[in-house]
Symmetry: C2
Subunit: 450 residues, 2 copies
C-alpha cells in the first residue's frame, strides 16, 4: 500500500491547485479524479461557457458594428465550429493541468474514490494511505422533483454544453448566474429564450439596481419573475405566476439551473459533519476529522472556482507553509459574463443595510467615461457603484456593469483586501482612457475633497 | 477687471480637472482655452485614437472569427462611418466637460491667453486677475527640420485624424506610442504601413522583451529600426540604415510622430524657468514663481493624460485641500491600445538594473491562462512580467501584453502604490476565469511558497 503525505480527492480548481501547491513544496501527493482533470470549471463550467459567450459576443459585434465603420454581410453563427473551439480550449487546459501535476511530481489516479477510513482511500482495487486528506469533490446541478424533469429535452448545464444544434426555443428555469449566462448566450445567437425565476429578481448576489438593468438589457429574453414551475411537458413548461395564475410557455429545450448540490456521497461513513449545504469547515477549511480538510463547492461556503483555489492555498499554507492563513470571504470577486457583463466584490448596499452597517454609496453611469463612450456610445448601459463605511471611509464594495467588468474587478479586490479608504484610492493614478477610471470617479462622487 | 481665486490656462485633462476640483471646493475659477475643451486628449489624442482602434479591432474580429463560429461575408471598413462615430464621441465628451464646468461654477473663456504678469492674463480685450495661476497649456507634435516635412502629404497626429480616405501606403516616422498606435490602426484596416525608428527598438518605455513581441505581432507592418530619415519627397521617404546604406520607401502619406514639444510660447516673459522639456516644477508642481503652478505635458514630467489629471489634484490639494499631496511618478500606469494591446506600471527589469536595484523577475505566457485561451487560442501572443525587490519582495513593476491589459493595469497601480509584497498579493482572490489571474500566477512563479 502506497503512502502519501497528502491525498486530494477531486481535480477541479480546488483539488488540482492543492495538489500543485503541495507538490511544489516537495510533498508526496496523490490526486484522484473520477472524470476529467479540471473538474466542472474546466469541463462543464467556467471555461466552456466563457468560450461560447465570447463567440456570441463576436457574433453580435459582427452584426451590429456598422455604425462604427465595420460592415459585414450575411453574418451567421456556426454552432459546430463554436463547439469545436470550446472543446479544443478544454482539452488544452486539461493537458496543461496534467503537465502541471507531472512537473510538480503529483501522482494522478483516474477513478472513483471510496473512503475506507480517515487515512485510507480506495480506487478500484488499490488502497492508498494518506497522512492528510483534502476533499474537493465539488458539486452537481440540482434536479428538483418537478414532473417531467427527466424528459429527454430537459438538460442541466452539463448536457447543454454539448448540444449539436441550436434549439428553436429554450426555457431556463432559474435566474442565477448559470441560468443568466446561458440565457445571454442562446438569445444572442438567435434562440428564443424565456427565464422563469421563483424570486422577485434575477442574480441574487448582485446589487438590486444592477440586476434590474441586466434584465432590461437582455432585450430579447422574456423574464417571468416570482413564478413557480409546476410541470415540464414534451412541448412546454407550466408555471404559476405571483398571483397564482396557471400559465404555459413553449420549449424545444429546457435548462434546469436551480442551484447545485455538494457531492458528499459516501462521506457520511467517515463520521463527518455534513449539512444541506455541504461539509462543515472552519476558517482553515478543517472538517471535524483532524486530518481531513474540505475545499471548494463541497463545503458550500462560496461556489466559485477561484474561492476553491484560494481555499486550496489556505489549506496548504496551514499544512506545509509558513503563513497559517485563514480563509476570508469579504473580498472575493464574482463576475457574470453575459451581455452585459457584470462583476462585483465586497458588500452590496442591501447587504450592508441588512448587517446594520452605516454606509455611503454612489452610483455613476459609464457613459460619462471616455473609453466606454468611444467603444459603446452614449446610449449603452453601464454602471459603477461603490459602498464605503460611513465612519472610516474604507471601501467595502465595488459593483460594475459593463464591458471589461470581469477584468477590472480584481483591482477592487486588491483595494478592499488592502483596506484602502476613499482618500487612498484618490492618490492612485488610473490609466486614461480606461473604463477602470470609473471606480475612482465614483469614489469622488461620494467625497470630492482633496 | 474680474478677480478669480484661480485662473487655469488650458482645458485639457490637466486644466479642466484642476478647474473642476477647485470649483467643487467653492473657489472662483476661470478656465481659458484657445481651441477646444478637453485639449489634445479629447480632441486629437487618447479619445479619437481609441475610438478608431476599437473599430479596427472589431473589423479584424469580423474578418477572423470563423474558427470560433462567427461567419461573416464581404466584410468592409467604412472610414467615413468610423470617423463620424469618433467625432460624435469627441463632441459628447466635450459637452460633458462643458457641463462639468458649469455645474462646478467654473467660468470658461475661449481664446488665447497672453500673460501680462504673474497675476494677470489677457484674452482678447479682457484682462483677468488671479490669485493663483495654473499653466496647463500642453504640448504639440514636434516637426523636425527634415527636408520635405512641409509637403502636403506629411501629417502629424492631429491632421491624420481627419483624413477622408484610407491612403494606399503610410510611412510612420517614429516608433513611440503614437506612431505604433497609428501603425496598428492603419495596417489593421488594410493600409500598407512602414515604421522608421531611429532607436534599436520601438516603444522605449516598454520592457525590451515586450516591445519585440509587439513588433513581431504586427505582422503586416514593415519595421526599419536604427534608421534615420534624411528626406521626404512627394512619393516616398529616404532614410539611411544602421550601416549607412541610403534607402527609400514609397509613401502616399507620411505620419510624423517623433515626439512632442511643450507649449511654452509667451511664458518666458514671466521670468519662468523653462528647459527643453518644459517648465521646471517641484513635486508639488510649483514653478519658480510663487503663485504659478504648471501641470501636464507643459512641464515635461510625464506626458500622459492621467498624469496631468493627477497633477491637477495634487495642486488643488495643496492650494485648497487638506492633504498637501506630492506628485509621485513610480506607479503611473501606461497603455498602448494597438493590436496587441499592452500596458505597464512601475519599473521594468532594464530600469531596475540601471538604478542598480537588485530585483527578481518572472515572465509567463498568457496562453496558460484559461480565459485568454478560451478567447484567443493557444497560438496567440500574450505575456505578463513582474519585477519585485529581491530583498523586501515588494512589487515594483507589472508589465502586460495581451487583451484587457489597459483595463487590468490599474490593479497593478493599486498594488504598487499600496506597497504590497508577493505574499500580500497571494492572499488576494482574483476572479476565475479572467486574464487578470496571470498577475498572481506570475508572482507565484517567482516564489511558490505559501
Amino acid at each position: 500500500m502506497e503512502h502519501f503525505d497528502l491525498i486530494v480527492i477531486g481535480a477541479g480548481p480546488g483539488g488540482y491547485v492543492a495538489a500543485e501547491r503541495a507538490g511544489a513544496l516537495g510533498k508526496k501527493v496523490l490526486l484522484i479524479e473520477k472524470d476529467q482533470l479540471g473538474g466542472v470549471c474546466t469541463n462543464w463550467g467556467c471555461i466552456p461557457t466563457k468560450s461560447l459567450l465570447n463567440s456570441a459576443k463576436l457574433y453580435k459585434h459582427a452584426l451590429e458594428s456598422e455604425k462604427m465603420g465595420v460592415v459585414a454581410k450575411a453574418v451567421t453563427y456556426d454552432l459546430p465550429a463554436a463547439m469545436a473551439w470550446k472543446q479544443e480550449t478544454i482539452e488544452t487546459l486539461r493537458s496543461g493541468i496534467a503537465y502541471l501535476m507531472k512537473s510538480n511530481h503529483v501522482t494522478v489516479v483516474m477513478g472513483e474514490a471510496a473512503f475506507v477510513d480517515a487515512h485510507h482511500v480506495q480506487v478500484g482495487d488499490s488502497v492508498y494511505e494518506g497522512e492528510h486528506l483534502i476533499i474537493a469533490t465539488g458539486s452537481s446541478p440540482a434536479v428538483p422533483p418537478i414532473p417531467g424533469h427527466d424528459l429527454p429535452h430537459v438538460l442541466t448545464s452539463n448536457e447543454i454544453l454539448s448540444i449539436g444544434e441550436l434549439p428553436e426555443s429554450l426555457v431556463v428555469i432559474g435566474g442565477g448566474v448559470i441560468g443568466i449566462e446561458f440565457a445571454s448566450y442562446f438569445s444572442s445567437v438567435g434562440v428564443k429564450v424565456t427565464v422563469i425565476e421563483m424570486m422577485d429578481e434575477i442574480l441574487p448576489m448582485m446589487d438590486g439596481e444592477f440586476a434590474k438593468l441586466v434584465r432590461r438589457e437582455m432585450k430579447e429574453v422574456d423574464f417571468h419573475l416570482g413564478c413557480r414551475v409546476t410541470a415540464i411537458s414534451a412541448d412546454g413548461v407550466s408555471y404559476t405566476d405571483a398571483k397564482g395564475n396557471a400559465l404555459q410557455v413553449a420549449a424545444a429545450k429546457v435548462l434546469l439551473s436551480v442551484g447545485r448540490r455538494p457531492n458528499v456521497n459516501g462521506l457520511d461513513r467517515l463520521g463527518m459533519v455534513i449539512t444541506r449545504s455541504g461539509i462543515e469547515v472552519d476558517d482553515r477549511l478543517r472538517t471535524n476529522i483532524p486530518n481531513i480538510h474540505a475545499i471548494g463547492d463541497v463545503n458550500g461556503k462560496s461556489l466559485l472556482a477561484h474561492s476553491a483555489s484560494r481555499m486550496a492555498e489556505v489549506v496548504i499554507s496551514n499544512l506545509y507553509g509558513t503563513q497559517k492563513m485563514r480563509m476570508r470571504y469579504h473580498a472575493i470577486p464574482w463576475a457574470v459574463y453575459g451581455m452585459p457583463e457584470a462583476a462585483g466584490c465586497g458588500l452590496t448596499e442591501q447587504e450592508a443595510k441588512k448587517q446594520g452597517r452605516e454606509v455611503l454609496c454612489a452610483t455613476t453611469q459609464m457613459r460619462a467615461n471616455g473609453r466606454f463612450l468611444a467603444e459603446h456610445g452614449k446610449r449603452a448601459a453601464g454602471l459603477c457603484k461603490v459602498v464605503v463605511d460611513a465612519k472610516t471611509k474604507a471601501l467595502l464594495g465595488v459593483h460594475l456593469l459593463g464591458p471589461y467588468s470581469s477584468e477590472m474587478i480584481h483591482g477592487a479586490a486588491v483595494m478592499i483586501e488592502s483596506e484602502l479608504r476613499i482618500q487612498d484610492v484618490k492618490e492612485i493614478v488610473f490609466p486614461h482612457p480606461s473604463v477602470s477610471e470609473i471606480i475612482k470617479d465614483t469614489l469622488f462622487a461620494i467625497d470630492h475633497t482633496l
